[in-house]
């Protein structure tokens, strides 16, 4: 029963990992950018929500509703102002710029909020759960997060396959110059992709903040989760990312069942195993 419980809890947190990894997957898929500030952006969203709630006394759901679109706008601007320029300077430049951004964000947060560990109080919803059997109970928050993640991923997938803008986005990712020729504006398209990525990162960051504690320096280790989910699932495939997130969540959860100190290591080892035996990932998407 303990094992089954670990499996279910792992599956649920896997949804959160997948939601979090979507932004990384999308930015790499469309622009070939590995955003090293990905984890820090989630932490910035957590701190922003914390500051909004303690500063204005607004309810949590309202802060959530405000933060996510705000991050989408920030994402669009970051792409147009910062990343677009780095794309012209070659692949090393994008890596350096996002790494620089990561260091800057971490230390700005440290300067503003100190190194203390924080949590976002989700109230009774975050702590409540319903029992299935004596040994297995499912938290409302965990389930809501998973459902939210599935909805968001389905939404993005529908956007990419059914809408004109989504199709243009895929076209730009395959061949930006040709997409420009047929009326796309790759800069705008890239901005949209980054906006979606930032919005999902913010959403994941807020969910993370409600279920576990955070501090300014936790971003990089979160980035690693997202990265592992993307690689396990297979580069360039959103469903692969969902699968990767779930595999990572389940592995960590089972690892912690054996020994709490094994949680992270188990996740890393499954990543290395995939790398060793199936480097293209479990679902091979478009070629990277």
């Amino acid at each position: 029963m303990d094992f089954l419980n670990a499996l279910i809890q792992g599956l649920l947190i896997g949804g959160l990992y997948a939601l979090f990894a979507t932004g990384l997957s999308l930015m790499f898929g469309v622009m070939r950018i590995v955003n090293l500030a990905h984890g820090d952006l989630a932490v910035v969203a957590s701190f922003l929500a914390l500051a909004l709630i303690s500063g204005t006394g607004l309810p949590l759901w309202f802060v959530l509703v405000v933060t996510v679109p705000l991050f989408a706008v920030l994402g669009y601007l970051t792409q147009r102002v910062l990343l677009q320029k780095s794309l012209k300077s070659g692949p090393l430049a994008t890596l350096l710029v996002t790494f620089g951004l990561s260091i800057v964000l971490q230390n700005v947060l440290l300067e503003m909020f100190s190194a203390d560990t924080r949590t976002l109080d989700g109230g009774s919803f975050a702590t409540g759960s319903f029992e299935i059997t004596g040994a297995i109970s499912i938290g409302y928050l965990s389930l809501a997060t998973f459902v939210l993640a599935a909805l968001v991923l389905t939404g993005i997938q529908l956007f990419l396959s059914r809408t004109g803008l989504g199709r243009m986005l895929r076209a730009s990712s395959d061949d930006p110059e040709t997409a420009n020729l047929v009326g796309g504006d790759s800069r705008h398209i890239y901005g949209i992709a980054t906006a979606i990525a930032f919005a999902t990162v913010a959403l994941a960051g807020l969910m993370f903040a409600m279920r576990s504690s955070f501090d300014p320096s936790i971003g990089p280790s979160r980035l690693i989760f997202a990265f592992e989910a993307v690689v396990i699932g297979g580069l360039g495939s959103l469903w692969g990312t969902l699968l990767g997130g779930i595999i990572l969540g389940v592995t960590q959860s089972i690892g912690s069942q054996i020994d709490p100190a094994l949680t992270l290591l188990a996740g890393h080892l499954i990543f290395l195993a995939v790398l060793a035996f199936r480097p293209q990932g479990l679902i091979a998407g478009r070629k990277a």
Binding site: R32, I33, L82, G100, N107, E111, P220, H268
Partner: protein, 346 residues
């Protein structure tokens, strides 16, 4: 004499091909004097100065190793802290076995090169940007594994044994010389490697990988060699950090902050030049000394400068110096000069 022959001879006579720029001869002399002065420093100044310089030398060595890897090998790693950590812990482990700690620094380099062989097999499966994060995950794995070994002190780290018998002044001086030796060996190692066959292969691979492999360059072997040398260098640097601080803490020694330092030093100094990491390390070190009282503002500034340089000055400060003056302290390419008209034999 046929026309072709005569033309060839004239052409050959009019050009000099050499490996040294004119400035190189002067700079060799200047560098020799500087090295001699640095060697004598423990006899001349307070221990405080030499202790601080140990940090600079470690940074220089690390930056040289990252530059070799990323600037010449095209392998942008964010996980070299794996080898800093393994090197540091090797010194602790060898010292526990009774090996003299300064000697253990050398063994640490060898240990890291050995660890780098299986690591590279996994890491090389990832390309480009994904290689960067993949190496970082591998460094995390090494940290988590080391923490599980109780004889290495677990999560709280461990002190170095085997140096307590030494007089403090002598220990300071020895550590300084070992650190200086490491920095000089890193620079000299990169210079010699890049002047040789490997340097030529790497430049060809960097410029056009497919074309390079089609003319018989073993791309994988060249990259592996660079990766192993870089691992050994970072390992020795980790060892020097341990003999200088006399203890090791797993979170600090395996911190990604080391990668941040290496990357920003190299990028600010000028990636792909041997002089780049040297200049970058000096600038970085000066900033660190100046801003040491401002805590995290220092890193904010560093990150911002790194971003700005990546965007607007992709060849770094040394690229700027080189464009203005043509100076090259460690020429690894070839220089072609036209001879003066009066020397023309025809």
């Amino acid at each position: 004499m046929s026309l072709t022959q005569s033309l060839t001879e004239r052409a050959a006579a009019a050009l000099d091909v050499s490996r040294a720029a004119r400035s190189s001869k002067v700079s060799t002399l200047v560098m020799a004097v500087a090295v001699a002065a640095l060697c004598a420093l423990p006899f001349l100044v307070f221990a405080q100065v030499t202790d601080t310089l140990v940090n600079l030398f470690v940074l220089i060595a690390l930056a040289c190793m990252w530059n070799l890897l990323a600037g010449f090998g095209g392998l942008v790693s964010v996980g070299q802290q794996a080898y800093i950590g393994i090197g540091a812990y090797s010194v602790i482990a060898f010292a526990d076995l009774g090996v003299q700690p300064y000697l253990a620094v050398l063994l640490a380099a060898v240990t890291c090169a050995i660890f780098a062989v299986p690591t590279s097999w996994l890491a090389f499966r990832l390309r480009g940007d994904y290689f960067a994060v993949g190496t970082w995950v591998i460094a995390e794995v090494y940290r988590l594994l080391v923490v599980r070994v109780s004889s290495l002190g677990g999560a709280s780290g461990k002190s170095l044994t085997g140096l307590s018998g030494l007089d403090q002044t002598l220990r300071g001086a020895l550590t300084y010389w070992v650190a200086l030796g490491l920095a000089l060996a890193s620079i000299a190692g990169c210079y010699l490697l890049l002047r040789g066959r490997l340097g030529l292969s790497l430049m060809a691979v960097r410029d056009e990988e497919t074309a390079a492999s089609s003319v018989g360059i073993d791309v994988r072997r060249a990259k592996l060699l660079v990766y192993l040398v870089s691992a050994a260098g970072c390992g020795a640097a980790g060892g020097v950090i341990t003999v200088s601080s006399l203890s090791v803490n797993p979170d600090a020694i395996f911190s990604v902050q080391w990668s941040a330092y290496m990357i920003f030093i190299v990028v600010i100094g000028g990636i792909g030049y041997i002089e780049g990491p040297l200049l970058g390390a000096v600038v970085f070190f000066a900033l660190q000394q100046l801003l040491s009282d401002y805590g995290s503002w220092y890193l904010i500034l560093l990150g911002a400068i790194g971003m700005a340089v990546a965007l607007w000055l992709p060849r770094g400060l040394w690229g700027l110096v080189r464009d203005r003056t043509g100076l090259s302290l460690f020429p690894v390419g070839y220089f072609v000069r036209t001879r003066a008209a009066d020397a023309d034999p025809t």
